[in-house]
């Protein structure tokens, strides 16, 4: 390879996998910029070696059985809409969740089939997630995602109690949330209000928590609950539930 003279070399003379190794030490943004520098950089930027570095180390365990064309695809799917864990084959809807990456990185628990709740007299939903699947030192807000019934005309305002807590932590705050807004009572209502999203679903805040320095030995769980308050006698008829999302907040 090398002649008697040590010839002048440029970064492009490095083997492609060596450039991939270098790119893996930068950031996703740096890699995307490098992909437009030259064709060799672009090829090196596609490598699984690079994108594997940007994925959580516990991923193998979580995504067992899921297949992706490349780690890059996996990365961008995680940053975008997320991935339904267990490939959607799991029979128990509560054990499913959507995994997404830290920073852009929401985590969603989602039902495999959107249950339309009929004749339920005591609505109660509880979801748990292990903290190690979340980003450390990050404040998350939990949201309940659903479609309201009939804009509060046929039914009295549908209120629920909501709570988000780190399992085992003493101090927990229970709040109220209104799943269907009633414009008349809105001004004097202290709880959370629903918000219509661009994707057609409605969301309401459940609570928030801080992950701290995730200690792998102490495998904490976060519990998200929502249950009927009994403010009115309500029937949760016609409510379509999508699931629960945990989204990191800026501060």
């Amino acid at each position: 390879m090398e002649g008697e003279m040590s010839s002048e070399v440029n970064i492009l003379d490095l083997p492609e996998d060596c450039i991939s190794h270098i790119l893996s030490l930068t950031s996703p943004g740096d890699v995307c910029r490098c992909a437009t520098v030259s064709t060799k950089f672009r090829r090196a930027a596609q490598s699984d070696v690079v994108w594997n570095q940007f994925l959580p180390s516990c991923l193998e365990e979580i995504l067992s059985g899921s297949v992706f064309a490349s780690k890059k695809d996996l990365y961008f799917q995680l940053c975008g809409s997320g991935i339904l864990i267990d490939g959607g084959n799991n029979k128990d809807p509560f054990s499913q969740m959507i995994l997404s990456l830290p920073n852009y990185k929401p985590v969603t628990s989602r039902f495999s089939e959107k249950p339309r709740i009929n004749d339920v007299h005591e609505l109660s939903i509880q979801a748990k997630i292990k903290m190690r699947f979340l980003s450390p030192n990050t404040r998350y807000v939990d949201y309940f995602i659903y479609v309201p019934r009939f804009n509060g005309i046929e039914y009295p305002p549908f209120s629920v109690s909501v709570r988000s807590r780190v399992v085992g932590e003493e101090l927990t705050i229970t709040n109220y949330a209104r799943l269907e807004d009633d414009f008349l009572t809105r001004p004097e209502y202290n709880g959370y209000h629903p918000r219509k999203r661009d994707d057609g679903w409605t969301e309401v805040e459940i609570g928030e928590f801080f992950t701290g320095d995730l200690d792998h030995d102490r495998d904490c769980e976060v519990e998200t609950c929502l249950w009927e308050t009994g403010e009115y006698v309500t029937v949760a008829c016609g409510l379509v539930v999508q699931g629960i999302e945990l989204r990191p907040t800026e501060d």
Partner: protein, 163 residues
């Protein structure tokens, strides 16, 4: 001083021959910091002369200088040695010109000097981080070899990285 003379008697010396014929006499403990040489020593046993046709003498010398420093620092099982190694590594890569940096990286890669590869790739990565595309091209003296429109297309796909 007397103690060092007793250690040399117990240390085996290896002869490494570079592509340009330059030879280096190195203690086995130093040379075996390089995975490739370690394998050769273990597999071929008694061979004392090792030819390395892919590495030029100038860069082999630098690689061995790095190995020597690390081997020496590691013999004293002092906790402060990590700090010494780090400081010395920083000095080692600080003023390297790009030509030397890539030659060393290729040599270290060929010789399976994992720690040295990590040090050198980190140095190159630090020259990339946070830079705009034009700045990267300027730093590494790279000309775009994309077809017209191709670069624009790739940029569009990840436009967030260019904001």
């Amino acid at each position: 001083m007397s103690s060092s003379s007793t250690t040399t008697t117990t240390t085996r010396l290896l002869m490494l021959k570079a592509s340009d014929g330059v030879t280096f006499e190195v203690e086995e403990a130093v040379a075996t910091k390089l995975g490739a040489i370690n394998n050769m020593v273990e597999e071929e046993g008694s061979e004392d002369l090792i030819c390395l046709p892919n590495v030029n003498g100038k860069f082999l010398g630098m690689v061995l200088e790095w190995c020597k420093k690390h081997a020496n620092n590691n013999t004293n099982s002092d906790k402060g040695n990590d700090e010494v190694n780090k400081w010395w590594d920083k000095e080692f890569v600080m003023d390297l010109d790009q030509n030397t940096l890539y030659h060393l990286l290729m040599a270290a890669d060929y010789l399976s000097g994992t720690e040295l590869v990590d040090l050198l790739t980190e140095k190159v990565a630090s020259m990339i981080r946070g830079k705009k595309v034009e700045e990267i091209r300027e730093t590494f003296k790279i000309k775009s070899d994309f077809l017209p429109g191709q670069e624009e297309e790739i940029r569009k796909k990840n436009s967030w990285a260019f904001e």
